[in-house]
Amino acid sequence: MSPHLILRVVSKLLIPMIVVFGFYVQFHGDFGPGGGFQAGVIIAVAVILYALIFGMDEARRAVPPIVVRYGAALGVLIYASVGVATLFMNGAGEPLNFLDYDALHPDQGHHTGQHYGILLVELGVLTTVASVMLAIFYAFAGRVPDIPDEEW
C-alpha cells in the first residue's frame, strides 16, 4: 500500500517533536535565540513535512486551508489588539501609547506588563507566520494533485 514505509514511520515520530521544538523556540525566545518568526516557520515545517509524506489531502484534513487563511489575519489582529488594549488600559493621567506594554500590568517593579506584552505579541507573530508559510505552501503545492511516485 505504501512504498515509503520508513519515511512514514520516521516522520510520524519526528513531526510531534518538531512541533514541540517550535513551541520551545516560541516560549524560550525571551531567554535564548528564537521567537515568533522562527517558531512559526518551524511549526509550518512540521505540517509541510506531513504533507510531503502523507499527501496534500491528508494535510488539508489536518490543517484546513480555511484555518490557515483566518490564522494569517488573526495573528495581525492579535498584535494590533495588544496595541489597542494598551491605549485603553493606561492609568489616569498617563500618556496613551500604542504598544506600550507597561500599561498591561500594574507591577512595574518586575516589568510584568512588558513580559505579558512580548508574550502576546510573539503569539500574534507565531500565528501569522505559521499560517502564511502554510498558505504559500498550499498555494504552490495545491496546483499539482499529488507528488507523483517517480519524483521520489
Binding site: V25, F31, P33, Q38, A135, A141, G142, R143
Partner: protein, 207 residues
C-alpha cells in the same frame, strides 16, 4: 588584535564554500540540484552567522532559507521542467563592465568598514549600547534581541507581520487558495487573472 583568532580560518573556509556553492548554482542545469544547493547555501551562511555570534539571524536563515524556501522552490519546480534551457553563449561585455565596476567600488570601500568587534563602530556605540544598558532595567528580558524586536521596536515588528500577511495575500490572489479545486482556476478568463496580478503587484510595491 595582537593574537591571531583561530575562528577566522573557519570564517574563510565557510566563505570559500559559499563561493563554491554559488558557482555550482550558476553552472548547474538540473533544477532539483539547484534547489537543493540553495538550501545548502542557506545552511552554510547560517553556520557563518553562528561563527559571527549572530545566533538569532542564523536561526532565521536556517529555518526560512534552508527549510521553507527549499520546499517552496521544489513545489514550484514540480509545476515546471526539471532542466533549465541552456543559455546562449553570448558574452555580455556591458554587464561584465558593470559587475567589475561595482565589485571594484566594494573593494575600495572595505578599508572604511569598522574592524569586526570594534567597540567604537557605529553599530556598537550609539543606540545599540543604549539598548544593551537599559534592557535589564526597563524590560528585564535576558535576550536583548527579543527586547528590541518585540518591545523597543514593536512598531517595526508589527509592520513586518503585516508585510508577511500581505505576501500571503499576494500569493493567494495570484495562485489561488490551494483548496484543490483546480477547475475554478482554469475556467477563469485570462483577462481576470491579469487584473488580479496587477493588484497584487501594487500591494507588493507598497510593502
Amino acid at each position: 588584535m595582537d593574537h591571531t583568532d583561530l575562528t577566522q580560518y573557519l570564517d574563510y573556509a565557510l566563505i570559500a564554500m559559499l563561493l563554491a556553492v554559488g558557482f555550482a548554482i550558476v553552472r548547474l542545469r538540473n533544477l532539483f540540484a539547484v534547489a537543493m544547493l540553495t538550501g545548502v547555501y542557506s545552511l552554510l551562511s547560517a553556520a557563518w552567522f553562528v561563527s559571527l555570534d549572530a545566533v538569532d539571524v542564523a536561526f532565521t536563515e536556517a529555518a526560512v532559507g534552508a527549510g521553507i524556501s527549499t520546499v517552496l522552490m521544489l513545489g514550484a519546480m514540480l509545476l515546471t521542467a526539471r532542466e533549465s534551457e541552456p543559455a546562449g553563449a553570448k558574452r555580455h561585455w556591458a554587464a561584465l563592465a558593470v559587475v567589475v565596476a561595482a565589485g571594484a567600488a566594494l573593494f575600495f570601500a572595505i578599508p572604511d568598514m569598522p574592524v569586526y568587534g570594534d567597540p567604537n563602530s557605529p553599530a556598537n556605540s550609539y543606540v545599540g549600547m543604549d539598548y544593551m544598558t537599559s534592557t535589564p532595567n526597563e524590560i528585564a528580558v535576558p535576550n536583548v534581541v527579543t527586547a528590541v524586536l518585540a518591545s523597543y521596536r514593536g512598531y517595526d515588528t508589527f509592520g513586518e507581520t503585516v508585510v508577511i500577511f500581505t505576501a500571503a495575500l499576494g500569493v493567494m490572489l495570484l495562485l489561488g487558495f490551494g483548496t484543490g479545486r483546480r477547475e475554478e482556476d482554469e475556467d477563469e478568463a485570462p483577462g481576470k487573472a491579469k487584473v488580479k496580478a496587477g493588484k497584487a503587484g501594487k500591494k507588493e510595491d507598497k510593502a
